[in-house]
């Protein structure tokens, strides 16, 4: 029980850990990693029910653990290689965030591999003292999520992006610091699940109702 308590104390740190992407965008009172996982789990459950044919237990557990590696791993963003060393250079960062981060296929692959290794290392450290059955289960769920090994893994991976999109659009509406056109473009390239595309359309109808369809 002591090791389980220590694990939960570690996980508790995510309740107050603001997500780095929002900090870069200077969002005030931005969400924590735990808050993101909470709504991802709800989305996975509710939209997964619409989709059907999914293993609920696997789906919900995966959504609940998908970002826990961030207790120890770096919360990377797609903009990182372009950012100045000091995050105090706000003017420069604002300029960088105005454009879509552009990298070659080789750079994308190299960056993703580094991120994956860092997150796996963080996860292994976090779960290292858990009872072996639980440790294996959490690692298996995380590997499934990361690599899309089952239909549940592939669905939660996209639900995570949809939650992120919804949060980004909410911040844009409330604080105006998000380049919503870039987010829109991103959503049309990364989501392919029919149920999630339908949900994105619903988000757009709510938030972009008064925006002209012209460029």
């Amino acid at each position: 029980m002591k090791n389980i308590l220590n694990f939960l104390l570690d996980i508790g740190r995510l309740k107050g850990k603001e997500r780095r992407g929002w900090l870069l965008h200077e969002i005030k009172k931005s969400e924590s990693t735990a808050e993101h996982m909470f709504r991802t789990a709800l989305l996975a459950w509710i939209l997964g029910k619409e989709k059907g044919g999914l293993n609920w237990e696997r789906l919900l557990k995966m959504a609940l653990i998908h970002d826990i590696c961030e207790v120890y791993a770096f919360d990377a963003t797609p903009y990182d290689p372009l950012l100045p060393k000091s995050l105090k250079k706000r003017k420069k960062i604002r300029e960088i965030l105005k454009k879509w981060p552009k990298f070659s296929l080789f750079q994308k692959q190299k960056r993703e591999l580094a991120k994956y290794k860092d997150e796996l290392k963080g996860l292994e450290k976090l779960i290292s003292h858990l009872p072996s059955g639980l440790k294996t289960e959490i690692k298996g769920l995380w590997l499934d999520y990361e690599n899309g090994l089952t239909k549940e893994g592939r669905f939660v991976k996209q639900v995570d992006k949809v939650e992120n999109y919804l949060q980004g659009i909410e911040y844009w509406k409330k604080q105006g610091k998000i380049q919503y056109k870039l987010w829109k473009r991103w959503s049309r390239e990364i989501i392919d699940d029919p149920i999630l595309l339908k949900f994105i359309k619903t988000i757009d109808q709510k938030f972009f109702a008064n925006i002209s369809s012209k460029k």
């Binding site: 879509w100 690692k139 390239e189």
Partner: protein, 157 residues
């Protein structure tokens, strides 16, 4: 009867999944007979998948998924030279968007990984680009319009 979904895979992807399926089946048999599995020394397998060895639920879920995928898999073939000026599955495409050039490969849903520059043929952008040629312009309305201009198309072989 509900028609099964078809999965488009690259040749490399199909070979990898077939090898993984064979390894996992051997592992499952070994677990049933109580043998110490010796199937994990292949370079084809990601060593992190050792979790399968201990987590039977995970092993079963992956095997079920692989069986379904391999049963309905469709191989992505490189089109003949005369048709390589058109975007098809497997094409790597350079597009101009908002004044910047971006590059990605269009693959089936199963192999899609936008972070690695692989976008799904079932995503709105992937779907709209299929069948297009160099110089074509594609507008994605959602409801904000984004214009993609096709600059280059290439195939790996």
């Amino acid at each position: 009867m509900v028609q099964e979904r078809e999965y488009y895979l690259t040749e490399q992807g199909l070979i990898r999944l077939k090898a993984e399926y064979q390894h996992l089946r051997k592992l499952k048999s070994a677990k049933i007979t109580g043998e110490v599995p010796k199937v994990w020394h292949s370079e084809d397998l990601n060593p992190e998948y050792l979790s399968f060895q201990e987590d039977v639920g995970f092993l079963e879920a992956r095997l079920t998924d692989l069986e379904k995928v391999l049963r309905t898999a469709k191989l992505i073939k490189t089109p003949p030279k005369t048709k390589r000026d058109m975007i098809n599955l497997g094409a790597t495409v350079a597009v101009e968007v908002d004044g910047n050039i971006d590059e990605f490969t269009i693959v089936g849903s199963l192999e899609a990984n936008p972070s690695l520059g692989k976008i799904s043929n079932e995503s709105p952008v992937g779907k709209a680009l299929l069948g297009r040629r160099i110089g074509d312009e594609v507008i994605i309305s959602s409801p904000i319009q984004v214009l993609y201009k096709v600059k280059k198309i290439r195939y790996s072989s």
